[in-house]
């Protein structure tokens, strides 16, 4: 199954209430697959092509405010248009799932894979002090698994979860194990799980208001402290990172998404040449796996960050190890993807042959 198709199927199987989106390469198959599978005839899930990304994100905001399980998917230029919605949803503390299958930028850019939206996703692409949980799949199976994980975390912390994938993971096909079909939540279940949601005042409970507007500075300051407390809680509980061959490694590659897969091959090639190279693959980009990276880097002589960008995640790696080791960057840009030997050559050039 293709990565993008996997996202669509996983959303239906989770028991999603609605998808709102606007097509853009390289993730148009998400909407296309949903339209082909017609979940409105089976689970009752709504699939709607909005008139623009701005409309789509605000439909997601509205659905989330009602405690519904809603998502959208887009690619880089579309995600830029959604930033206002991201900030509003964060301020309103509503749970939603946002998917960005990144393509080469800036601007309208190319349609090929990229990871240059790392800062936008992890450092708050919209205005204000907020964070979304950012999950970085590197296989089609993770495209399936992170849909469920993303929603579980979003509802647990009342925050926005993001899947930050790249065009490679979206376009490639791999073997997947799909979860069982879950029923959509009933109105009663939503009332119970989301007592804050706007669900209609059947029992004349106190009024629920979902808004990001607060004209009293002191209340807004208290809101910010509450958001930050949630973020600290997420940082404490939810960092995830895969470590491969890091117990004995002299050099460490740090990469996420498809570059992590390509780096894994480069690591295997380096090991065949007799170099002890390990790989750390951040799965949550926010919260960044600071402790895991620090631990993996403890005894290494150097770290190579491989990104489809000019060096964005590298800043978090340097912060994680407090610049205690040499950290170098290797990346391709604009939609180009490196082959394994390019990464191996970079390892040689920057560390092994020095």
């Amino acid at each position: 199954m293709k990565g993008n198709e996997a996202l669509a199927v996983a959303a239906i199987r989770y028991g999603a209430d609605a998808y709102f989106g606007y097509p853009i390469t390289p993730q148009s198959e998400v909407l296309e697959t949903l339209e082909a599978l017609k979940p409105w005839e089976t689970t009752g899930m709504v699939v709607l092509q909005a008139e623009s990304e701005v409309a789509a994100v605000n439909m997601v905001y509205a659905g989330a405010a009602c405690g519904k399980t809603v998502l959208t998917s887009t690619s880089s230029p579309g995600f830029s248009l959604m930033q206002e919605g991201m900030s509003y949803m964060a301020a309103s503390e509503v749970p939603a799932l946002m998917i960005n299958v990144m393509r080469g930028g800036p601007g309208l850019g190319t349609i090929h894979p990229s990871q240059a939206d790392y800062f936008q996703a992890c450092k708050g692409g919209g205005h204000g002090d907020y964070h979304a949980i950012v999950l970085a799949p590197s296989s089609v199976q993770e495209m399936v698994d992170f849909v469920a994980l993303g929603w579980d975390l979003a509802f647990k912390y009342r925050c926005v979860s993001m899947i930050l994938a790249d065009g490679v993971v979206g376009q490639m096909m791999e073997k997947v194990v799909l979860p069982e079909q879950r029923p959509r939540r009933t109105e009663e279940e939503i009332r119970k799980l989301c007592p804050w949601a706007v669900t209609g005042r059947k029992d004349m409970r106190p009024r629920n208001v979902i808004t990001s507007l607060e004209l009293d500075d002191d209340i807004m300051e208290a809101n910010n402290h509450r958001f930050q407390a949630t973020y600290r809680e997420i940082e404490k509980n939810e960092t995830r990172c895969e470590l491969i061959n890091t117990e004995d490694c002299d050099y460490l590659i740090v990469a996420f998404g498809s570059p992590a897969r390509i780096s894994m091959k480069a690591m295997e090639m380096a090991r065949e040449q007799g170099y002890k190279v390990g790989l750390a693959r951040p799965i949550t980009l926010w919260p960044f796996p600071v402790n895991q990276i620090r631990e993996a880097a403890k005894n290494v002589k150097g770290i190579l960050c491989v990104e489809l960008a000019t060096g964005q995640m590298i800043e978090d790696v340097k912060l994680a190890i407090e610049c205690s080791k040499p950290v170098e960057h290797f990346g391709r840009l604009g939609g180009n993807v490196p082959a394994p030997d390019e990464i191996l050559n970079a390892l040689h050039e920057k560390f092994l042959d020095k």
Binding site: T25, P26, I111, H112, G167, V168, Q171, M172, M173, E174, K175, S258, R261, I262, S263, M264, K265, A266, M267, E268, V337, A339, P340, D341
Partner: protein, 179 residues
């Protein structure tokens, strides 16, 4: 077992679907598989290629530098990928439209006349199945039975009546390979 393959040719030759059927066939044998296409505007009338990996173990990179097996279906693809065959690996090419045949002597080179065979079968749409048949004769990485199961899985039910014709094309492709 691990087999790293690239199939390259013109858009419309069925390169991507041939790779897909191969990947599904691997799936039927409980193998790990990846299928990574070139995607974008170059698929419309231009060149297309797909990397397929079949393995007993977890697959690292879906993108490769060199391949165990390279299948090329036009001159451009031959020029681009001949140097990417691992030493001792296999290069399969369709002779149709090739004016500069491969020159390497450290690999096994197979010429198959697949385009001509489509004229014989009077069915140009079965082209990629002929090529797949030849590939499987040279490198029996999956059984014919599982290819047919993979084919059934990748075709919508309304096209299942075409399965016997595809099997015939696979057999034809196998018969094209001479040692």
């Amino acid at each position: 077992m691990k087999e790293e393959i690239i199939i390259a040719g013109f858009g419309g030759q069925g390169v991507l679907s041939m790779g897909k059927i191969l990947a599904y066939s691997g799936l039927m044998e409980e193998k790990e598989v990846t299928w990574m296409p070139s995607y974008g505007p170059e698929q419309r009338g231009g060149t297309a290629n797909v990397t397929v990996i079949l393995s007993d173990e977890r697959i690292s990179s879906p993108i490769l530098n060199t391949y165990d097996t390279v299948v090329v279906l036009n001159q451009q693809s031959l020029d681009r990928f001949e140097s990417k065959v691992k030493p001792g690996g296999v290069l399969i090419y369709d002779s149709y439209g090739i004016h500069n045949p491969p020159t390497r002597d450290d690999i096994r080179v197979y010429r198959i006349d697949a385009t001509e065979a489509t004229f014989e079968l009077k069915n140009s749409k079965s082209y990629n199945m002929i090529v797949l048949g030849a590939l499987l004769k040279i490198k029996p990485m999956v059984t014919l039975e599982n290819v047919l199961r993979g084919l059934k899985k990748s075709l919508p039910e309304r096209h299942w009546h075409l399965l016997p014709m595809n099997e015939k094309a696979l057999q034809k492709g196998m018969s094209l390979v001479k040692d």
